[in-house]
């Protein structure tokens, strides 16, 4: 499942964009060094293939519902880690732009969740290790299922964490996890089976397709690991910093939050601190506590007045926007 712009905060979006951009740069550099010019057309065309294949549905046995190919693991098997990562990233970018699938800010999160785990972890460390040199069909299926399940579990956990830390959704962490992980376990198994079936089909028809990749070294190299480590450390630091600030210095917290999220709603400073404080506490405490409602510091009449102006103003704004649109359009056509 894709992360959406509507659920992401600027901080989370930016952080994962930084991580993904870094890995894209790293993979591009690695690809260059490999000097395999066949990969250039291959990556593009296989990406388009996955795109097309995703549009064809199959029915999932015993459930009656339909599913489609994800393709991350398949690409990793066919292309190797760096090339597969870039291909997955490119597919996600096209989906984000053309189908608004996910979002442009959340794209960094999606590239990370759906690219890193199949390409750099599931394929090199699980699938490759499990299938050995001359795999039988059942071995392939087994390896692919494990690899796909791991990749998808990590990916969906990523979505959960990113949504949770962003704080736009009120879903508590544990509920969200309980919803996402089992679903993606099932999806992972299906993905593994389908991937293995396709790979074994290819292997029987043209084994050299797969042999050209087995030679590439798995990406256990320093740069990617250190990137991930750096990211995790900084995430932990930021989290720790926040909880310290939250418990001791509300004003300092407001200042930091304002700096990071850019939300400086100046007209109501007192209110902001309350809300910000509780929002952070909710995140850090991992408990389904609720934020203090907006306007808790004001009395009932003030709250009503504020609400009313908000509604009236909102309605007016919508009318104005529509009018502007119509006027501009008339001017273009006229």
């Amino acid at each position: 499942m894709h992360m959406a712009d509507a659920l992401v905060s600027p901080a989370v979006g930016a952080a994962f964009w930084a991580a993904s951009a870094g890995i894209i740069a790293h993979s591009s550099a690695r690809l260059r060094k490999q000097l395999d010019d066949r990969k250039v057309p291959l990556m593009g065309v296989l990406g388009a293939f996955v795109f097309a294949a995703q549009m064809i549905n199959f029915s999932i046995p015993a459930t009656g519902s339909s599913g489609h190919l994800g393709g991350g693991l398949l690409l990793a098997i066919l292309l190797g880690p760096s090339a597969a990562f870039l291909t997955i990233a490119s597919i996600l970018m096209v989906q984000a732009l053309f189908f608004a699938d996910g979002g442009l800010l959340a794209l960094g999160c999606n590239i990370f969740n759906l690219g890193v785990f199949p390409a750099f972890i599931a394929h090199p460390f699980i699938y490759s290790k499990l299938i050995g040199r001359e795999p039988s069909q059942s071995r392939m299926v087994f390896a692919a299922i494990i690899a796909a399940v791991v990749a998808l579990q990590c990916g969906s956990l990523g979505v959960v964490l990113q949504t949770f830390v962003s704080g736009v959704s009120s879903l508590p962490f544990d509920t969200f996890v309980l919803l996402m992980q089992p679903i993606h376990l099932a999806i992972g198994v299906i993905e593994g089976v389908v991937t293995a079936l396709i790979v074994s089909f290819v292997y029987r028809a043209r084994p050299e397709v797969l042999h050209s990749v087995i030679k590439e070294k798995p990406v256990g190299e320093l740069p990617v690991r250190s990137l991930l480590t750096a990211f995790l450390i900084s995430a932990a630091l930021i989290g720790g910093l926040f909880s310290w600030l939250a418990s001791e210095q509300p004003d300092g917290l407001e200042w930091s939050i304002a700096r990071i999220t850019g939300s400086e709603n100046l007209p109501q400073p007192g209110l902001k601190a309350h809300e910000a404080l509780n929002a952070v506490q909710e995140k850090m405490a991992f408990l389904p506590d609720y934020t203090l409602p907006e306007g808790a510091g004001l009395d009932k009449n003030q709250r009503l007045g504020k609400t009313l102006s908000g509604i009236v103003g909102g309605a007016l704004t919508l009318v104005i926007c529509t009018l502007i649109g119509i006027v501009l359009r008339r001017r273009r056509q006229g």
């Binding site: 549009m55 064809i56 189908f99 907006e294 504020k306 009236v312």
Partner: protein
């Protein structure tokens, strides 16, 4: 199977829209990419309960649709398609967040509903921004803009190749799937064996196509690097005005809740 036909045609439609020649279409793609990104960041930076302050942001997609001569119904349809996941998660908010934060007459409104609506608004705004960006810029131009903004060239090449062959491959996929559909007599969906066989064949043909493309590239002197023909795009005054004005507006709307101010003028209840 109709799904594949539908989304494929949709894809082409968006691509065609990008070829129009309005004033916004002619702007340097960097201006449009940066403005859109700024828009999205501003929109998602609001706190979860904000609704009214989000509404004025609608002016951006509305203006671009009008000036860019884009079909509003089409954009709307594409957006509606995307709302599901965000909405799905958003609908959990009223379940978990039942603190009353608004009272309109006898009605007690939970925080959860407010934040859910906020999520919906965000989804509409961000989705429309992305689709409109493609409709007024075109995918190759966006790639070029990103390359000029320091995206690695290998990735830009990949994006352009992918884009180029999506049309070819989805065409092939449609034909294969349709041929198969005509032999199933109404039973929905492929079973796994048939699916993997169909897709496996498509994959092999794709692999062979890649080899032929590689042949063609070699035949024209390819030696590992695709050199891009950097178009003479120019970030000049119109682009600067476009970017600065919109970004300034976004920041203003972010800092001040315009509908609130407008509304309070009308209702007379100033804070």
């Amino acid at each position: 199977m109709l799904a594949i036909d539908g989304s494929f045609l949709d894809f082409k439609q968006l691509d065609l829209l990008a070829l129009r020649q309005t004033a916004v279409h002619r702007l340097d793609p960097r201006a449009k990419v940066l403005t859109t990104l700024c828009f999205i960041v501003c929109v998602v930076s609001f706190d979860k309960y904000q609704i009214s302050a989000l509404l004025p942001f609608l002016i951006y997609p509305v203006t671009l649709i009008a000036v860019g001569d884009l079909p509003p119904g089409y954009i709307l349809r594409k957006m509606l398609f995307v709302l599901p996941f965000a909405l799905l998660v958003g609908l959990f908010n009223p379940i978990f967040d039942r603190q009353v934060i608004l009272q309109i007459g006898p009605l007690d409104i939970w925080g959860g509903w407010v934040s859910c609506l906020s999520i919906l608004l965000r989804a509409i705004l961000t989705a429309s921004a992305a689709i409109i960006l493609v409709a007024i810029t075109g995918f190759p131009a966006i790639c070029e803009a990103l390359e000029k903004l320091k995206m690695p060239q290998a990735f830009a090449v990949q994006l352009l190749f992918l884009y180029r062959y999506i049309f070819v491959l989805t065409d092939e996929g449609v034909r294969t799937a349709r041929a198969r559909q005509l032999r199933t007599f109404g039973r929905r969906g492929l079973d796994l064996r048939h699916f993997s066989s169909l897709v496996g064949h498509l994959l092999l043909r794709t692999w062979e196509r890649a080899e032929r493309i590689h042949m063609a590239m070699l035949a024209r002197g390819f030696s590992g690097e695709v050199h891009s023909t950097h178009k003479q795009s120019h970030f000049g005054k119109p682009e600067l005005i476009f970017t600065v004005c919109w970004v300034a507006l976004f920041i203003l709307l972010r800092l001040y809740n315009a509908p609130q101010l407008l509304g309070s003028l009308f209702t007379g209840s100033m804070q």
